[in-house]
Symmetry: C2
Subunit: 553 residues, 2 copies
């Protein structure tokens, strides 16, 4: 079952357009074109061929990188056209042979990353003045159509060949689980009975009917397709509030020092793993000197601007943790350094929040924090003297499942809020982490934000900003026992528990994708009808026919 | 794995207080007391003993029946005290040995029914003037606490023994999946980090801390417990708008004729099964004469009042279908008779909607329709000449995944709406089925409702009220092929697909329980860490220790 993945070594998420194997990125005025051209033989594993523009995690890492770079390096880009460099095929979706050969955990983490990438496109559309146009110049199936669904508009070539389809249920006995089912009815608002037909029709829908069913926005004959795409892309670009010219900010390699034991060392983040104990510690460090405070100096700092740098590093840690350290179940979060410098950095972010680069930085931080919320690991924030859990970095303590703060008469230990805790970094459900924390006592949100200066442990407990604040006598034992006890529990039950407790209150399309749709897909990814010896995913492309146990659950 | 369930024959949901084995129902003024006293040896299967007031489906069928009867038979009841007849133990939750011995499908359907029962209690509180007080006179664990969470208020005896707990994650590697996790943070609004501790603490929380954490509303010493419960119950009763005296409406047995082949025949509903084809047809029949139209005659009709009768029968069909016919994946819905009499019945329901009995009838219909939405079967409405898909019965067509309407020039075929389609029967997500259908075109809701009289097939297609309307030449083939094709698909993929497509738009605590929480629980119910040979659910109560694969997904 696990052949493909077992041959994949530690995955790195560092890449660059000059190294892309699967995408061509081109710029013309306000329009960037992201052309899919997947190299069959360049999958992460040699066990499968990425035929027909099908994708694996490696293809999606490049896509995510490209979108990130468009946001930061190309402020003059206002529309991104997502298309294919191939004739007659846009994208066949996630590679089936990759899925078949993957462990359950690999499938789940692959889908999580691709979901985050697609939600990142929607985030750019909603918040960064970048619109996405899916230009479907050929067959668009499964994950290919899910990628199109993440775009603002979808146009399809009108020929006898090109259709959009979600054939997962009909052919593979799995779901269009990378947001597909949710986006069809919740975003495209396809009528549920038409969606039902579409979701069971392997060959999909094309031409005028695809427009009538709201599956695409328009179809064009092949002769007019390129011109129409160009026209629409330019029109979509008009509403952007991005600059009309550069310069952008280059995203240089993070150059993490990777140890054999899995530990990672960056400029402002450390990741220390104890595989025997199945724990890790992520330490983020405050800036050592005040951050740049004018647009000129911020732009000159570029990707070394501390708020961007520290969260790019944290983001990389979280991604590597998920894929490369599957057994590390409990993660301690620490923040070190001078909290006053974090609060100063927050002031700078707030002051310049409408400048395109600072805005991108803020939304990057937001997305990285969401990755923490969505990681299937237990997070405990450990707050000790010398900590820098202030403002933006305090979001990490709020994202944690629990927080422990040392209350020692002999050493000052403080946390602090800033206006950046007031809603700048909403969770997937649209609530700030303070709102989620105080869902039962909403008055405490404004009380906490109104508090002047730092909170000592007694004040932090009184304001309910930390879970517990043991004294120096109990501290070591209490923290150690909490972590040890956590590591003995079933990782599956913890995943389910955390996924339910972290997201109180309202739901959004995003939480529906990660909650309802993903949870069902993960269920199906274990079902014999999909992955058993006679399951449809197992049998696909072989001479065997799938055999189902028809019992409904 | 399936020993327990394999010995359970077809399950009947018909019962009566005179036959209860596990509950004692007592009435005093406005307060009913529902006392749990589970008979160890009276489980549905002899394979397990229902020790410590633990429960199986049989116990929950009685609970559901009792609540239904309180609503209909005891209008003078304004508060229900849910308590235990045992000393020192309220309820230990779902029986672990039953869960261990059950098939996946049985576990899933058991949880679905218990969820519906608990949501039914909340429905009575929100809509029927009946408040629920959980009087926890002893240990209250797992599903026992989930039952308490479904009540409006929870009081706990304050002694050295009695705690509330959700030990599922810590002891069994599963979730408190019958609404527990969702209600703790979304209804009780326990802070998420405290909920995290509570959810991993096998021994639970008691006394003052249980109040501080919002897990219970109050604690009382044993000496004052009964008096305090009585006082609170009477106080809760004061706000009710129910009558102060009876008479109620007796719910007589449905007396379904059950055939060996699984078919069921009721006064107004038929259920015909074709096990070889894995299909069934549910036919509901319009009243044959005008329904009673004054409160006096309606009360005299009692449970023979057609709207109640037909939906009690339908409800029974759906419940039996789920548990007794696991392989029937596709269900055809038909409505027969005079649609004018259905519309007349709707007028009567609307006119008297504020009378307690009519109100109960309307909410009963609403809950039965929700059971259809939540059933993991594909529903196709087949609309032919002579159909009675009008008003309330048209909700069945709207609940269906697809609807097929015959468009034959030679025979009239019509559907019709009534004001009862305008929001009286909301789905779990709070939308009317018309709103859900037209989530992408909200204007069509009011357009359809404003239409005078019936819709012929062309009008129905124009108003988008049916999926397709084939003509007489295509009809037989198109319907047959749609059903045949549906029955070849993976039942698991269909379950996941339908659970996602049916619930567009907003989410409620109810949809979070059925979507997010249930989907994760079903995932966990398949995981080796819970149900494998060394899983925690398998090992519980044996001398073996659970062994986990610590890989996180």
């Amino acid at each position: 079952m696990a052949t493909a993945v077992s041959k994949i070594g530690p995955v790195s998420f560092d890449t660059h357009p000059s190294k892309y194997r699967h995408w061509k990125l081109a710029f013309e005025g306000p329009v960037a074109t992201l052309g899919m051209d997947v190299q069959e033989d360049a999958g992460l594993s040699p066990d499968y061929k990425l035929k027909l523009n099908s994708y694996d995690l490696g293809v999606d890492i490049e896509l995510a990188d490209a979108i990130q770079r468009i946001r930061f390096e190309h402020p003059e880009t206002h529309t991104v056209v997502v298309t294919s460099m191939r004739d007659r095929i846009f994208c066949a979706g996630a590679n089936i042979f990759m899925l078949r050969g993957s462990t359950h955990s690999w499938k789940v983490n692959f889908c999580k990353f691709t979901n985050e990438t697609r939600l990142g496109m929607e985030d750019a559309s909603a918040n960064s003045g970048i619109k996405f146009l899916a230009a479907l110049n050929g067959i668009c199936a499964g994950g290919g159509y899910e990628l199109a669904l993440a775009c603002d508009e979808i146009v399809l070539v009108d020929d006898s060949n090109s259709a959009v389809s979600l054939p997962e249920t009909a052919l593979l006995a799995v779901l269009p689980g990378t947001g597909g089912l949710t986006r069809v009815v919740d975003k495209r608002r396809v009528r549920r009975d038409l969606a039902d037909i579409f979701g069971t029709l392997a060959e999909g829908v094309k031409g005028k009917r695809a427009v009538e069913w709201r599956l695409v926005d328009a179809v064009y004959p092949a002769s007019k397709f390129k011109e129409a795409v160009k026209e629409r892309a330019l029109k979509m670009a008009e509403s952007s509030d991005r600059p009309s010219t550069g310069p952008g900010v280059a995203l240089n390699p993070l150059n993490a020092q990777v140890s054999d034991n899995g530990s990672l060392e960056y400029s402002s983040v450390s990741f220390a793993v104890d595989r025997a104990k199945r724990t890790a510690t992520i330490t983020v460090r405050a800036p050592k000197v005040p951050v740049e405070s004018t647009i000129d100096t911020i732009m000159a700092a570029g990707d070394q601007f501390w708020p961007l740098r520290v969260f790019r590093e944290l983001d990389d840690v979280i991604l590597r943790l998920r894929v490369n350290e599957p057994e590390v179940g409990t993660v301690v979060l620490k923040a070190e350094g001078d909290p006053a410098l974090v609060i100063e950095a927050d002031d700078v972010l707030l002051e310049h929040q409408h400048h395109w680069f600072v805005r991108e930085t803020i939304h990057f931080i937001k997305r990285s924090l969401k990755r923490v919320d969505l990681s299937a690991r237990s997070f405990f924030a450990i707050i000790e003297p010398g900590n820098a859990f202030a403002g933006t970095l305090f979001e990490l303590a709020l994202a944690a499942d629990r927080s422990y703060m040392l209350d020692d008469d002999d050493q000052a230990n403080r946390i602090q809020l800033s206006p950046m805790n007031a809603g700048v970094y909403p969770m997937s459900n649209g609530l700030s982490r303070l709102q989620a924390r105080f869902y039962g006592e909403p008055g405490k949100v404004s009380e906490a934000l109104a508090h002047e200066g730092p909170f000592d442990p007694a004040e932090a407990v009184e304001a309910a900003l930390v879970t517990v604040a043991p004294d120096a006598i109990d501290w070591d034992d209490e923290v150690r026992m909490a972590i040890e006890s956590r590591t003995t529990l079933s990782p599956d039950a913890l995943t389910g528990m955390e996924a339910n407790l972290r997201f109180v209150g309202p739901e959004t399309m995003e939480t529906k994708i990660f909650g309802r749709l993903t949870a069902w897909q993960n269920w199906i990814f274990q079902r014999p009808n999909a992955v058993g010896p006679k399951g449809a995913l197992t049998s696909y492309g072989t001479s065997d026919r799938a055999e189902f146990d028809f019992g409904r659950t």
